[in-house]
């Protein structure tokens, strides 16, 4: 390599290193900005009310008043709300994932009459926004089936395939598994359900976890449906609890922020545990489409 080319190569290397360092700096700044609101909320939850109204506001609380949380939990029944939320989420995730897998399997592997029609109805429903069917479903569940102030209208829909999008996801994933695997099992005399349970399901575990996670996030973020189906306060979920708490305590910001942090906590913990799947799952959806 000539000297000139070598020095050009070196200077290019150097400039690339500067750009990467600069990138890292910008990423750190943005990461701090993104985390800042969460920090601000948390720091407020540990302060006394006079401290909150101080000018200029402090970045750190003077004494970390974790006792605020005890005080808050006397009104904001966190454990109760969390339990109620889980009563909705756990069966929904299990039912949704299981039925989505059944349907995805049928669409990906089995031959039957009317497949094309059912498949297109399924894909069509993906484009139907959830809010459109809200009122008729409400009437159906409460008037038709008498399910007032009940979790069932929130849970049961997930036992009906877990949403077209999830069926789609599972189907795509099964299609990527080589058919030779189930053919070999057929020769060995395994039935269709046997193949599904002992060959397909273990192979698509990542996709099933992703589906469960999407259902979790969907229910976790929902407020509207919980609001219309649940009335009595001992059935409140976290979302309903925090919304109502805000209404009750208009000015006590430290307690309101403590309740907010409590509501954040399960999601963050869940996320830290399942981080790998979260990111994989989101990636999966983006690329499969």
């Amino acid at each position: 390599m000539s000297d000139a080319a070598y020095s050009r190569f070196k200077s290019k290397k150097r400039s690339e290193r500067t750009i990467n360092a600069l990138t890292l700096l910008i990423v750190i700044v943005f990461a701090l900005i993104v985390l800042f609101p969460i920090w601000w909320i948390f720091r407020t939850s540990l302060m006394t009310n006079p401290e909150i109204y101080q000018y200029p506001p402090a970045l750190l609380p003077k004494n970390w008043l974790f006792s605020n949380y005890e005080k808050t939990m006397q009104i904001f029944k966190f454990w109760k709300y969390l339990w109620n939320t889980m009563i909705i989420i756990v069966p929904s995730c299990l039912g949704g994932t299981f039925t989505a897998t059944l349907c995805g399997y049928a669409f990906a592997r089995l031959r039957f009459r009317g497949k094309q029609l059912i498949w297109s109805l399924c894909v069509g429903s993906m484009l139907l926004p959830a809010m459109v069917t809200l009122i008729p479903l409400y009437i159906g569940w409460t008037r038709g089936l008498g399910l007032q102030d009940s979790y069932l209208p929130l849970i049961l829909p997930y036992f009906c395939g877990g949403g077209a999008f999830n069926i789609f996801l599972i189907r795509q994933f099964i299609l990527s598994i080589p058919r030779e695997l189930d053919q070999a099992a057929t020769i060995d005399g395994a039935g269709y359900f046997r193949i599904l349970f002992s060959i397909i399901m273990p192979a698509i575990k990542p996709a099933m976890i992703v589906v469960a996670m999407f259902i979790f996030i969907g229910l976790w973020n929902d407020l509207l449906q919980q609001m219309i189906y649940i009335n009595s306060s001992d059935k409140y979920t976290i979302a309903l609890g925090i919304t109502n708490f805000k209404g009750q305590l208009k000015q006590d910001w430290s307690m309101t922020m403590a309740a907010t942090c409590l509501s954040f906590a399960p999601g963050v913990i869940f996320y830290l545990i399942g981080q790998k799947y979260f990111v994989e799952g989101i990636t999966l959806t983006g690329l499969k489409n």
Binding site: I41, I52, Y53, L134, Y192, L223, L224, I242, T256
Partner: protein
């Protein structure tokens, strides 16, 4: 003859067995499609033609709900405008923000996985709590944003209590929440073949040109997907209004889905609310259709060059 028929019979029995397994697997989905999707859709149309309040027997009143909505309803027009305004700011903001962050994260930097996790965190927090939490940052006297404004010598702003600022303020939260878009963009960026970049670099293309002529075209399918996802989500926005603003101040955050909620579950005008729902549905469908229609023109796919 007999021996010739036998395998066929067996195959058809196997076939019918396969079909019945399929139908068993599909029972839940078929029930869902009928009772949770398509019948309710027809139901919306049907109920929207009545004056049902949930108490008396509904009467058929034709299109008069729709006529009222478009002529005398005090909220409809404001509601559509507020929703479009919110969706525009949120979609544009989240797309630019998340593509920008994804491109930064796509470079060789240490702890990339950690940073990706950080940007994703807001997405896993329950939406209702997020709005409550941010309402403190937006607080009129002691909120953090007003502290910032006073530091740089500007007047205080009421943010979510000011009809001019409420929609941009809420949009900022929704941009903050768009961590899922970042992860999808990042996955897409990692799939852009690096040979293209190397070849362009050989030819002396600078950073901007490579972004404009390689990254952007290769990313169009992902951009389309994210655009669709975020448009549909933001046009259905309702949580901030439910958790925080109650549609106010004035009608400035009375988003369409909130309007529907208000009509149906606060005022019990079920027929009227269904008419609103159908209009919202039409607007959403129109946006989706336009996006799909124009997508053929700007989505780049390999092998299209010959056409």
């Amino acid at each position: 003859m007999e021996t010739f028929n036998k395998p066929q019979q067996r195959r058809s029995r196997l076939h019918s067995n396969e079909a019945s397994v399929a139908y068993i697997c599909l029972i839940p989905a078929i029930l869902g499609l009928i009772f949770l999707t398509y019948l309710p859709l027809l139901g919306v149309l049907g109920i929207s033609m009545t004056n049902w309040t949930g108490l008396k027997k509904p009467e058929f009143i034709g299109f008069s709900n729709y006529i009222t909505l478009f002529t005398t309803d005090p909220y409809m027009k404001d509601s559509i405008l507020a929703t479009l305004y919110f969706a525009f700011l949120s979609v544009a903001g989240s797309m630019i923000y998340s593509l920008f962050i994804a491109m930064l994260l796509n470079r060789k930097i240490p702890a990339r996985g950690f940073f990706r996790a950080v940007f994703y965190v807001p997405f896993v927090l329950p939406a209702a709590a997020i709005y409550v939490g941010w309402s403190w940052l937006y607080e009129a006297n002691f909120g953090f944003f007003n502290y910032l404004l006073s530091e740089i010598g500007l007047n205080k702003v009421l943010f979510i209590a000011d009809s001019n600022y409420v929609v941009p303020s809420l949009s900022l939260i929704s941009v903050w929440l768009s961590g899922n878009l970042i992860v999808i963009f990042l996955a897409g960026l990692q799939n852009v073949p690096s040979v293209y970049h190397e070849a362009a670099e050989m030819d002396g293309a600078n950073g901007w040109n490579r972004f404009r002529h390689i990254t952007l075209p290769c990313m169009t399918p992902i951009i389309f997907y994210n655009l669709l996802l975020s448009l549909i989500a933001n046009l259905q926005v309702v949580t901030p209004a439910l958790a925080l603003t109650n549609g106010g101040p004035g009608n400035s955050s009375r988003f369409m889905t909130y309007l529907m909620y208000d009509q149906a579950f606060v005022n019990y005008k079920l027929g009227y609310a269904c008419a609103t729902t159908f209009i919202v549905f039409a607007i959403l469908a129109a946006f989706t259709a336009v996006l799909f229609k124009t997508s053929k023109r700007w989505i780049y796919s390999e092998g299209d060059d010959d056409k």
